[in-house]
């Protein structure tokens, strides 16, 4: 019989055995993700960074994602072991040393959601929410999106996602998918300072993206991952050291045209994606933000929220 339990309630032996058999089903947000491919670094990562997530060891239901973390060839299974994420379709994945299995795991989940999800419009963006609605932050990698997402968590916002805005088809409501926040290089100490040491995973050193660590999702965010939200603020943030803080309200058409290229499945969904992205702006206003520090970015967001409220009043 299959039982849903938290990762932290499982023994290492149970996780290992389930990963070997390819029967570990991770429930997170709207997705059921079947994981296979046992390795010590992956088990360490799941027990540390995914400890509050719900899993099933012997699932009987359908799954959204099947991610196999496998060796690129038989030689690399035993001699200087390597791992590649195999989501069941062709992806350009570089084999990584087995110590970087956490990175392969995160990449594999990202690719699966980005390229094969048809239930939501997927937009590369960080999303947080409070009781009044969600803030969506769309930016290129390296623009400070993850740091800003992590900083907003410390202000009491719920984590929806650091990687994807999942926009409901039809209603354009945002769906949480609270995976760990990926931190690179110099953002690691910044978020460690903001969140506290206990919230940061061990660092994966020397990856193709440099040093990587993860800011764990809080148990409360994981447990509330069924609670959706309407967007209230859509931001296009850009961080550059020393930059003077700057904020510009965007007209809706411009903001939509900037969000469309950030969607990973717009071409797949077509008309439905266009309608959903347009509806995102039913209650939301959009801003472009530039800043040189986290404090500045938070002040600009406060100003934008105040302007939105003033306008609504």
């Amino acid at each position: 019989m299959s039982t849903v339990t938290r990762v932290s309630d499982l023994s290492r032996r149970e996780i290992r055995s389930s990963l070997r058999e390819g029967s570990l089903l991770l429930h997170l947000g709207p997705f059921a993700q079947l994981i296979s491919g046992s390795s010590d670094p992956l088990i360490d990562f799941l027990q540390d960074t995914y400890r509050d997530c719900q899993v099933e060891l012997f699932p009987s239901d359908v799954t959204d994602v099947h991610l196999n973390l496998r060796a690129p060839n038989i030689l690399r299974k035993f001699f200087r072991p390597q791992v590649v994420p195999d989501p069941g379709f062709e992806v350009p994945a570089v084999p990584l040393p087995i110590e970087m299995a956490p990175l392969a795991f995160e990449m594999g989940l990202n690719l699966s959601v980005a390229l094969k999800c048809c239930r939501f419009v997927t937009i590369h963006a960080g999303v947080v929410a409070d009781k009044d609605g969600a803030i969506l932050m769309s930016a290129e990698s390296g623009s400070g999106k993850s740091t800003l997402t992590a900083a907003l968590l410390e202000r009491g916002y719920r984590l929806f996602s650091d990687e994807f805005a999942l926009v409901g088809l039809g209603d354009a409501v945002l769906q949480p998918y609270p995976r760990p926040i990926s931190l690179k290089e110099e953002t690691i100490p910044i978020v460690r300072e903001l969140a506290g040491d206990e919230w940061i995973s061990p660092i994966v050193k020397g990856s193709p993206k440099g040093d990587i660590a993860y800011r764990r999702a809080r148990r409360s965010d994981i447990d509330q991952s069924h609670k959706q939200a309407k967007a209230k603020l859509i931001l296009f943030p850009e961080f550059e050291p020393g930059m003077r803080p700057y904020k510009r309200r965007l007209n809706t058409a411009e903001a939509i045209l900037r969000l469309i290229p950030a969607s990973t499945n717009f071409g797949l969904l077509g008309e439905q994606a266009y309608l959903a992205i347009t509806r995102l702006f039913d209650d939301a206003v959009a801003y472009e933000l530039s800043y040189g520090s986290t404090e500045q970015s938070l002040s600009l967001i406060d100003e934008a929220l105040q302007e939105r409220d003033d306008h609504a009043a």
């Binding site: 058409a253 045209l257 077509g270 347009t278």
Partner: protein
């Protein structure tokens, strides 16, 4: 694919079945279903699309009808501007020359 050089005897046609338009402050976002591409049109460009829905028109006819509709003079809306806009709209797939 664009139709090539625009001549004045070409009549242009569009269909509202082929796109979804959303208006924002006199400008329009238009999603073209066939290409899954989204275009940002001003009132004149979108005016050409809507004008050619009911009846196919030449560039000269369009210029006359649009001047009347938007209350513009010959200098404000030249024949050249209409032809240029037709060429750009042709590239998007929103309008096409009617074949006889």
């Amino acid at each position: 694919m664009a139709a090539g050089p625009i001549t004045d005897d070409m009549k242009w046609r569009s269909s509202s079945d082929g796109y979804i338009a959303t208006e924002f402050d006199d400008t329009y976002l238009v999603f073209v279903k066939a290409s899954a591409e989204t275009h940002f049109l001003n009132f004149l460009s979108f005016g050409i699309v809507t004008e050619t829905e009911s009846v196919a028109q030449t560039a000269t006819e369009l210029a006359m009808n649009l001047r009347r509709r938007f209350e513009l003079t010959d200098e404000e809306l030249t024949q050249e501007l209409v032809s240029l806009t037709l060429s750009e709209l042709d590239d998007t797939g929103l309008i096409w020359p009617e074949t006889v």
